[in-house]
Subunit: 418 residues, 2 copies
């Protein structure tokens, strides 16, 4: 009960701050972002000290190497977080943009204006940099933010939030604009998911388990992000050298992120020629290979894949490989197992490229390129709060614009409706 | 369990139909809409007969006059439903529109394309015309639709759906594009709310109770619609004759709809001059008046308003009236009780007009006009599926464009990420 009151007080002050933030001049927001960047670098010793506690605790708890890596902050990483804030400061402010308007025959002047959401809650896991990114992007878009990071990063997040909040308020940002939930009590998440009285949107960032919990229990509108079971289909007509480079890049360049490839689909007519060389190259790169029966026959290191493999986001040096009869079977497989994130075809056939892009239902659909490009920076947005895998409001990489809503301003001179 | 299987089978076939519908040429969709319009008029006798059953049952159940009126179909109403389909047929098809694109420095060609959602579920109440409107708007936007109307209208809806489905499939629309849930079992709604495997978006239309149930229990993304506790604030500087006409129109022109006024706020400095005449006029129009203490003193028919009145969407000939000290108190009252639908100020003060439009958080914010104009047709959209009162994806009147999502088509020539 006490926790509930605490969180609702936070929601309430965030809502009040959001009102004032919505009218906050761009220059003040930009100066605040630069001040936050400075403060992060000025107080980096504190950050590293707190982060060291988190890392030690994590190692004691026996967290995986990958998780420890995500959790760990270094001087370089602090500088790049600060750099991120400076980049956001330099981006155009979407708030107040007029998206169109009309004067109706009765003289009513209707304008569609971009406005902040109000209060955004971010629920995420071990990455402390999300604390900084989210605070910066929400501030730039005039949204108050409630941050709920993973317990593994709590010490780092406390210091980061303290630094950001102090720097922002010194720069004239209303208090309550940036909020960190400091308790690691899991109940806090369940309570936040029901706070639709105060929170306008919830954006979860993390593993499938977290996303699922949020989607299934939230009464606040949610933007689903970042689960990526991404496929690459090598068509019969593909330039096989290009296909090998694209597949290798999609799997190996950064296996731990959502836009990396989890399943490779290969047209039967080219499987025997294409797969042995590529599978060897992947194996040498340390990729564990799981394949269909036909794939098993093409390389000694391929272990049999079971049904679960096609439905798994490994986020690791593991790849499932399936030989398919044709484009239709490839699209059917993707349609069944895809998380609608990023899907690719490598082909030289115009009709197949066109059909793949039209029939596959995903946020980003590639022809002859690596799925790894699904990213706010690679798309040229200059920033990214996450990658939406739902169809409502935002789909694909979300930049500043995706953190805004609209309102209609209607100006008249006495119009009444007949 | 049987019901669950039945609904999932429906969801599955809707999803399959949606795939094909997404690629359906505009001309086929338009012809189908015209055929549906023809069929409605050709088979109107059946419709009226079925509707008569619903009305009789409703009267036997003792439904309110207002509800019976919404439920009742006449030849004129059937003609206007058909007219609606013809208008939708004539509107431009949003599907496939390119919303922009860029060629990145690495040569990747990224295009943002408008696509259908996929499967939309409409959950609504006694109005049979929603069955026709929703089927038409979803078809035009390439979405498959699952219709779940109120039990009061079940006989009418069965016939309407049968007519629409037959006409559409004759015109070449894939079967499964239009679906009606024929059971009146309330459990069906709960099951639909969990079918995120098949349904992309749920749009509830009806009273606060229905909207609440959907929002709180759905695991499918929801677009909240149509609860309107709308205010009109008469400022000190208002043209009082204009203010009286606007307030009268906002309350009396059609009290049963969501964009009508429920609460009138009046600046203290003009209350004594403004209210008595207006209250008399409203009383003569049959409006029950509930007011704050000051308002009570200004007209004998004013009954005391309690706290609940400020939070009630009457949808009836009832108005709550409050005298406020100034714009700030008006905005504070609106901020607390508003459902963020439509809010109006009547003023001659430039700064107050500007401040009201900036500080009030609602879908449509009016200066010197009636809130009754918040409507897809009045806004010039040519159609309306509902009025969104949430900030995610759509806000305010929703036309065809609001029934679509986007996807990114990325075309390359071998790009891989460093």
């Amino acid at each position: 009960m006490e926790l509930k009151q605490e969180l609702e007080a936070m929601g309430c002050s965030a809502k009040l701050a959001a009102r004032r933030l919505a009218a906050c001049p761009t220059t003040i927001k930009n100066v605040a972002l630069l001040a936050m960047a400075e403060a992060l670098q000025f107080r980096q010793a504190e950050i590293l000290q707190a982060n060291h506690k988190d890392v030690q605790a994590g190692e004691a708890k026996g967290l995986s190497k990958a998780l420890i890596d995500r959790l760990t902050l270094t001087q370089e990483r602090i500088i790049s977080m600060a750099e991120g804030l400076r980049q956001v400061s330099a981006l155009p402010d979407p708030v107040g943009e007029c998206l169109g308007g009309v004067i109706r025959p009765n003289g009513l002047d209707i304008k569609k204006i971009r406005v902040p959401f109000g209060v955004i809650a971010m629920i995420y896991e071990a990455r402390p940099n999300v604390t900084v990114d989210a605070a910066g992007l929400c501030l730039k878009t005039g949204n108050a933010v409630i941050l709920r990071g993973g317990s593994e990063a709590i010490e780092s997040n406390k210091v980061l939030a303290d630094i950001l909040i102090q720097a922002a308020s010194k720069a004239g940002i209303p208090s309550g604009a940036i909020n960190l939930v400091e308790t690691t009590d899991r109940e806090a998440v369940n309570l936040i998911l029901k706070m639709h009285r105060y929170i306008d949107v919830i954006i979860p960032r993390g593993g499938a388990g977290l996303i699922q919990t949020v989607v299934e229990n939230s009464t606040v509108p949610v933007i689903e992000t970042g689960i990526g079971i991404c496929h690459t289909f090598v068509d019969e007509s593909a330039d096989l050298a290009m296909a090998a480079d694209i597949a290798f890049n999609a799997k190996v360049s950064r296996p731990g992120v959502c836009n990396s490839m989890e399943t490779l689909l290969v047209h039967r007519k080219v499987a025997a020629e294409f797969l042995p060389k590529l599978l060897e190259r992947l194996a040498e790169a340390g990729v564990e290979l799981r394949g269909c029966v036909e794939t098993e026959g093409l390389h000694p290191l391929v272990k049999p894949a079971n049904e679960q493999d096609w439905a798994t986001e490994y986020l690791d040096y593991i790849l499932s490989v399936k030989v398919v009869a044709d484009l239709t079977e490839a699209i059917a497989h993707i349609d069944f197992f895809s998380t609608r994130h990023s899907e690719a075809i490598v082909t030289r056939d115009y009709d197949n490229a066109r059909r793949f892009q039209q029939e596959v239902d995903a946020a980003a659909i590639y022809v002859n390129a690596s799925t790894r490009f699904t990213d706010g920076f690679e798309f040229g947005f200059g920033a990214e709060i996450g990658i939406s895998t739902q169809k409502l409001h935002a789909r694909g990489p979300m930049g500043l614009v995706e953190l805004t809503s609209i309102k209609y301003l209607v100006s008249g001179n006495g119009q009444i409706r007949q």
